[in-house]
């Protein structure tokens, strides 16, 4: 997945409130991420918060007709959203940071996500069993060490390779990752399979 990231380093906009009294200010980081989709299935995520524009029709504008988005809800399974004759089945379906989803596209296309870097106390609920998720923070790295996923013995991570259209599996077993700790790219989704319900929690700030 080719990504071009202006996050954190560039396009920092001080949109925050600074008061002379408290000397408290916040910094919002905005930017964009280009995600290259290959023909067939791609397991990706929306890496930036576009607020009210976190919708399929806004985020995936420009994908070719015939593109299908698969979102997954534990307990109920997939919801399918198809772009046919220029119209999405459900144009207002949301795709928020932390949510993984499949995009099946008939031809290669690059999607540009624009929005803010999520900050603060971030939490993604994880059910027992399969969860289609991603890091809420647009950062590449090892899923636990860098991105903060807490795991217990027996938990599994499945990554999807759009080139081979197949999966790779990583097991946290007997206190260590086998065969190695999985890494995620910016805007990459994955399956996290939990033996017990929990959440993917992380506190993140772009402030120094």
């Amino acid at each position: 997945m080719r990504t071009k990231t202006l996050l954190l380093a560039a396009a920092l906009s001080a949109a925050g409130s600074a008061t002379a009294m408290a000397q408290v200010y916040s910094v919002n980081a905005v930017g964009y991420v280009n995600t290259a989709l290959k023909p067939g299935f791609n397991l990706i995520a929306n890496p930036l918060d576009a607020g009210a524009d976190n919708t399929v029709s806004k985020l995936l504008a420009g994908v070719p007709d015939g593109t299908v988005v698969y979102t997954f809800t534990p307990g109920s399974g997939y919801s399918v959203n198809t772009l046919d004759l220029g119209e999405w089945t459900n144009p207002n379906a949301t795709l928020v940071p932390g949510q993984g989803f499949f995009v099946r596209t008939p031809s290669a296309v690059t999607v540009t996500f624009v929005g803010e870097v999520k900050q603060g106390n971030l939490s993604t609920p994880l059910s027992q069993g399969f969860n289609l998720v991603a890091s809420q923070v647009p950062q590449a790295g090892k899923i636990s060490t860098d991105l903060g996923l807490s795991v217990a013995d027996g938990d599994l991570v499945y990554k999807f390779n759009a080139d081979t259209q197949g999966y790779q599996i990583f097991t946290f077993d007997l206190g260590e990752w086998d065969p190695s700790e999985p890494t995620l790219a910016v805007g990459e989704g994955c399956w996290v399979r939990k033996g017990a319900a929990g959440s993917w929690n992380r506190t993140f700030s772009v402030n120094p």
């Binding site: 997939y78 938990d155 259209q165 086998d178």
Partner: protein, 173 residues
């Protein structure tokens, strides 16, 4: 026109080649209730490290099982007896029900068949049935897989049988 047809055929083949069902080849997937160690012939000592290999055998019927994926070594230490789970791609399309066996053998042979022929330790699990999956579905686990032990090489077995037969004959006479 011919070129277009050829191009379309090649494109179809390429897509077809990608669309192959997968499953999770692993004998320790605790969230799925799978805990099936593989042992030496003593039934106690788990196979470990590069001394042993394991490979998945898959087929539409029990008499058509063939190796898929690459052989993998066993884990070590507390994880001896288990392999690292790996996703195996089969020649079957997603949604196909297949038979699967886990076969294991002693290093020094390139394959299970070579181990059998070459007098190495070898063994296999009871076959199980599963339905291979393609994206966006997740690959199934080998639910129902049971522990098994390697058996002595044929020459030793043959010697054992010969000895037993000799004993029986001696008792009868």
């Amino acid at each position: 026109m011919k070129k277009l047809i050829v191009a379309a055929a090649v494109g179809f083949l390429a897509v077809g080649a990608l669309a192959q069902g997968q499953f999770n080849f692993g004998n320790r997937v605790t969230v799925a209730g799978i805990d099936a160690k593989v042992f030496r012939p003593d039934g106690v000592t788990p196979l470990d490290g590069a001394n042993y290999w394991a490979q998945a055998y898959v087929g539409a019927t029990l008499d058509s099982l063939a190796p898929v994926g690459s052989p993998v070594n066993f884990r070590t230490g507390a994880a001896a007896g288990y392999i690292s789970s790996t996703i195996v791609t089969t020649p079957f399309s997603g949604g196909t029900q297949v038979w699967v066996e886990m076969r294991a053998w002693e290093a020094g042979a390139d394959s299970y068949e070579a181990a059998v022929a070459g007098g190495k330790l070898f063994g296999k699990s009871d076959p199980i049935q599963l339905t291979v999956a393609e994206a966006p579905n997740t690959p199934p686990d080998m639910v129902g897989l049971k522990s098994f032990s390697l058996v002595p090489e044929p020459s030793t077995m043959a010697l054992g049988l010969l000895g037993a037969a000799a004993l029986m004959l001696r008792r009868r006479s």
